[in-house]
Amino acid sequence: MSATEAVSQGAGRRLSLTRGSQAALFVLAVVLLCRLLGAQFEWLVKWPAALTVPMADWMTWLVGGFLDVFKPIARTFTFLVSYPMEWVGWLLNAVPWPMTVAAVTAIGWMIGGIRLAALGFLGLMFVVFTGYWSQGMNTLALVAVSVPLALVMGAAIGILAFEYPRMKGAVNALLDIMQTVPTFAYLVPLLVLFGFGPVVGLIASAIYAAPPMARNVLLGLERVDTEIREAAVMSGGTRRQQLFLVELPAATQQIMIGVNQCLMAALSMVIIAAVIGGFDDIGWEVLQTMRKALFGPAFLAGSVVVVFAIIIDRMSAALAEPRQPQNRTVAYGILAVGAAVTIWAVLAGWPPSGVAAMDGLAKRVDEGVGVFTATYGTTLDSIKNTSMFYGLLPLRIGLAEAVLPFTWGFAWTVKHTAMLYGAALLISLILIFKGRVTAAVMVLIIAYIAEIGVAHLAWPVVILGAGAIGWVSGGWKLARLAVILLSLILISGLWERALLSLYLAGAAVFACAVIGGLLGLWSAMSTTAWMVLRPICDFLQTIPLFVFLIPVLMFFQIGEFSAFIAICMYAVVPMIRYTRHGLVSTPDEIIEAATASGAGKWQTMFEVRAPFAAPTILLGLNQTILYAFAMLVIAALIGTTELGQLIFLALGQYDVGLGITAGAAMAILALVADRLVQGFAEERRQALGL
């Protein structure tokens, strides 16, 4: 990257440039090079096929050999785990539902009194009436076995990382990988290892659910007050006594948060794992009905998933908070009523697999959607088409290709290109005149992206651009990391797919940043707004990824736009939350100082709160990016052409190498984006002295 130095030194002599503008100028130079010479030297734009490395094949060979070694062990494990799973499944199915409902209601009562008892009762009764009782119980059986696995694994990792600080770095990296590699990608090797069937889903969900537990155990242990720790030492406890009698119990609250996240992750993954396991569970039901375009049943089955998610989430979250002890007699009473109803139900011959009283509802939803799409079809189509033709498509393939007489009413010509760059140059000159060099250079780069589109960006621009951003946000180390990781994707031959992923995730993140940022700002200014938005955010964060696809499909059918909407719905939440949180958590003293200086409400917001909230908002953006990438893979189910689709392909073909390579490429994109934004957040935090 000696070019940067050349540019920065060359420019630095005359006017002192900030780090940001140096990087921007460097990227602009790369852009100019690629744009002007791209026609003569094709390799500048498109990485030559001759230089790609058959990474996927190597992976197949490497991992395949590795997997063969461990296959017998894994298969034994499958065999062993299938027993408890079957037992739990049998038990949950054998117990008559009035008894189960009563048990959950009683547990709800013990944990959170009347509120959670009511939630448990109404929720499970809903499941009973949908007629999906036995599917639901099969899903719960999977969760019931995978969660203890994940908890033990997670706690062990967390304690290990805490006890041996030297391993902390390695453990954190491992957890990052476990969470950023798209879940479907490691389903492929797991399939090979553990064979087909529900056990794979179980193990995948345990792997997916362990990291949040590990992180929270580690965090909880680290946050135990030093004096409490020292008090245990001075009491003469051995290391093991300190850990198990004092430190872990003192960290209970944080650990319970981990348990809650672990449960939710396991449930989410168990549902997704239906894609590989032909098993009679609720995820399978959702997938089947969705594939057959039976929106009513899909909607009902999806609601069952949501109900499970909400019950599990609220109950386990209540465990993390201090609570009042409840009257046990009430719980016994509820169980007694349950037993009585059970006997009566058996005598009356109620079906054990739930009362399918809502089939009518499913039909009505189906018809309703039918009528709705028939009536408002043109409106829906026009929303979809407008966004596609004027937003997503130009972003993907650039104005030069997206502007057609058919959509925009005119054809793009050289004249328009000249106009675009002319306008960009004008704005840029004005900005330079105002002394905002970085912004000026950025305008020119954006014009380039608008002209040719994200999917057609020349590879040096992307890689060196990411490197330059890394240099600004985190110095040479981060720049090097970004360049090396992205180059790996380039030479693996997955570059074009990766750019498509980048485009779709980028578009969604941008939309989320704008919408989420505004909603966050609004909730920070108005308590009423937050009262409305908060339950919506809670709801959106509770429901498993998979379920987002159902309503989108109902209204927009399959396609890129539906994927985009689904990603936005899921990824917008952290942006709203963090923006609001950052804006409202400015220290009171600072607000008072601003008020005392005579600042108005909006002045305080933009002059004081916003700068103070910047690191938090950046963290929100970071979360949004990770959420978007996580959803990207799921969204591939409803028709995208990027890396996510490759992963599905690999899954279908049992292709370990392709699955891992595509998964790794996706993880690299997410990881690089994550580190770049975190770098900026860290820089802001330090600037604010936090």
Binding site: D225, E227, I228, E230, A231, A232, V233, M234, S235, G236, G237, T238, Q241, L245, V246, P249, A250, T252
Partner: protein
Amino acid sequence: MTDKNSTAPAIAVEDLWQVFGENATSALRDARGAGDDKAIAQTLKDKTLIPAVRAANFEVKSGELFVIMGLSGSGKSTMIRCISRLIEPTAGSVRIDGEDILQASDKRLIDLRRHKLGMVFQHFGLFPHMTVADNVAFPLKMQGAGKAERRARALEVLQMVGLEGREDTYPRNLSGGQRQRVGIARSLAVNPDIWFLDEPFSALDPLIRRQLQDEFLNIQATLKKSIVFITHDIQEALKLADRIAIMRDGEIVQIGTPEEIVLHPVDDYVAEFSKDVPKGRHACVESILMDGIPDNMPDDPGIKIGMTLDTALTKCMELYEPVPVRNAEGNVIGAVHPHELANALQAEET
């Protein structure tokens, strides 16, 4: 105060260093060549290491209440953690009843802590998941004491600190003062010989603080522990201490009785501490005795050994000639010049 010279020191600290940073031990070894302690510390600082405790030397006699005082960041908390070996000192030795605890094995250390050492923390360090009684009984549990025995002893100590009846509440339901009483009770549960207190009253309201200080003195009067007490409050130090060590930048700048600290500060830093202290209330007449006893003393206002300067001055307001100082039996053992009395008190005004 001084009649315990005969017994061996409870704690003896010799050339104790605590350096924070990478490769501190070897860096300190290399820096030893630099000359005196100040030069060594400077050499370490140049290597971006932090010498938090420098060449500390002192002894705590058996039954003595030894206060370490300094501003925040002066290394006093680090010091007490070195002595209790909550952190590993970089160099030096700490002897507790003659045994070098820096050489003690982990097993021996656990044993010492279970039986001999007790510690009270600034922010109490109570276990949030245990009741008050369980907190207090925790060190006994570590000893392996039975449930009934633990409970009985916990109630006993809780009574000593005036918390009877609160044994089954949780720390979160107690006020700050009550919490620290639990902390004190816990540290006394195993009846330790050595008692470490790390700014025990600093997090409390002034009123509660004074109350707890008085109770603490009462407890000490009956238990006679050897105590290392950390504080940043000069008034507290003067009120409680048999002897005070004053720390600055990791260095002990002066060790002395409260009087010595107030009347003869070694430098401006120490003087600054005692600036606002009403000296008359802390210093006694023996600190300003004349060299000899004049033959002719016309007045005898009845000055006695152990009388504070304030009291003495009120007795000889109108006098200009030296007056005799008598001991408890009434024998003249020295003389004081009223002029000196006034001078000693005026020193603080400037």
